[in-house]
């Protein structure tokens, strides 16, 4: 079983999402301060969360694109490594922005508007992310677009801002070596990854099966209070999963099970959007003990449960489906 994927093409297709998405998000967020517009603020938080989710495949496709380009004439390994370091830094800032946006959306739900600390934190992290994403986009463009270089030579020298940012960018090689040479680090991260999974399955699973009709004596609104625990599990798994991936990029990038798992996670995001952004959620919250949820809510809960199990199944098969992508 072998699949052919052009990662360079996929990366080009996806890499505009974090760069342009964060700029639009910041513009909407800043505009929301004019007249304290809650709808605009909520929209920008949703956009940050969506962009943070879509940045996972964008980031990973970069490893595949790098493997496609290594050794090709006119492609500098140093420029690729600089772009990789810039992408790693901007990726984490964007993910923190996305997590803060989800916390803000939760506060919108609980107390009709986000807390002051959350607004300030989203503002700070999103502004820094825009700068870092611009740098990531620029360093990526330098790899294959000599028409944007200032001189005939590849732009290895940094400007003042570039030098400052480069100081904070991780060196990919060092990280990869740390992961390869310390099996205990990998063991610890994988252990946390399973604990995060148990937290998600226990809390989201309980909500899903109640919506589907199991343990109908439970009212749904208080069950929904377990969702922050699921988000904590998701955060643990996002961090541990990405750290292991950055340490062993080739192991994961050319694995069909890994990409299918990524697809299942994207579909879970879509499923959550369908649940929270339509009237399904507000109707489900009214369901009291002994009552049935609507059919549409039951379908969304069932698809959530199926997709989470797909994530577990595909995650388990990553080890045995290595090198199934060329």
């Amino acid at each position: 079983m072998q699949f052919q994927v052009n990662f360079a093409h996929l990366h080009l297709l996806l890499n505009h999402i974090p760069v342009i998405g964060t700029i639009i998000g910041v513009c909407l967020f800043l505009l929301s301060f004019v007249g304290n517009n809650d709808d605009l603020r909520r929209s920008s938080l949703i956009l940050f969360a969506v962009v943070a989710l879509l940045t996972f495949p964008t980031f990973v496709s970069g490893f595949g694109a790098q493997a496609n380009l290594i050794g090709q004439p006119g492609v500098s390994d140093t420029l690729m490594e600089r772009h990789e370091g810039a992408a790693m830094l901007s990726f984490w800032f964007l993910e923190v922005t996305g997590a803060l946006a989800l916390a803000g959306l939760w506060q919108f739900h609980r107390s009709s508007r986000p807390a002051r600390w959350n607004v300030l934190a989203v503002l700070l992290f999103s502004l820094v992310t825009v700068v870092l994403m611009a740098r990531t986009g620029n360093t990526g463009g330098d790899i294959r677009h000599p028409e944007v270089w200032a001189s005939q030579e590849a732009p290895l020298t940094e400007g003042a801002v570039g030098s400052i940012l480069h100081f904070f960018e991780p060196a990919p090689e060092k990280f990869i070596h740390a992961m390869i040479f310390s099996k205990w680090e990998t063991a610890f991260l994988m252990d946390l990854h399973f604990l995060g999974l148990a937290l998600i399955v226990g809390t989201v699973g309980a909500l899903d099966i109640r919506i589907m009709g199991f343990a109908k004596q439970l009212p749904i609104a208080p069950l929904h209070k377990f969702v922050p625990w699921a988000l904590a599990g998701l955060a643990i798994n996002a961090v541990t999963g990405m750290l292991v991936l950055i340490g062993m990029p080739v192991y994961y990038t050319f694995d069909a099970a890994f990409w299918l798992k990524m697809l299942a996670l994207m579909l879970l995001g879509l499923n959550a959007a369908a649940f929270y952004l339509t009237d399904a959620f507000s109707r489900v919250e009214q369901v009291r003990a002994g009552e049935d949820a609507s059919t549409s809510a039951k379908l969304l809960a069932a698809s959530s449960l199926c997709l989470w199990f797909a994530v577990i199944i595909l995650g388990r098969y990553i080890q045995s489906l290595q090198e199934t992508i060329k």
């Binding site: 399973f194 209070k225 377990f226």
Partner: protein, 170 residues
Amino acid sequence: MAAPALLSLIERSGLSTWIRETDSLFGFYFILLFHNIGLALAVGSSVFVGLRLLGVAPELPVEPLKRFFIIMWAGAWISAVSGVFLLIAYPTKALTNPVFYIKLTLVGIGVWIMIRIEHVVFGDTDLSEAVKMAKGKSLAGWSFVVWVSAITAGRLLAYTFRYLVYGHPG
């Protein structure tokens, strides 16, 4: 029969060899998948009930949570049965590793706490919610500690074994 000879005999059996060596998607990783799903169901449900007993979402009635023990037990049995098949596949790897015995002990304690919560908190329907909570709080806390330790020990099995199969150091 000496223990090493028994381990070798199990490893040379048709079932053990097939689980280890088949290219089928239904071999070793399929069984490992069920082991993980079982554990996720058992631990996930324990975490959910435990969080409630520790005070999360106080408006949620405790008594109906009894139904989640069906899922916990289903998960525990799936893990146990799949675990036996994994042991048949790699008996030397598991039984020569002290961490394996630590894991089994922790799983035993975890299941014992699960049974205690089922009986002490949910065994008497006449108990008030406040009494159920009071009785279940420390058990729920210990349940977390033990399950986290058991999962960690299980995870470490992949990194601490001395022999993969009989006569072949890992």
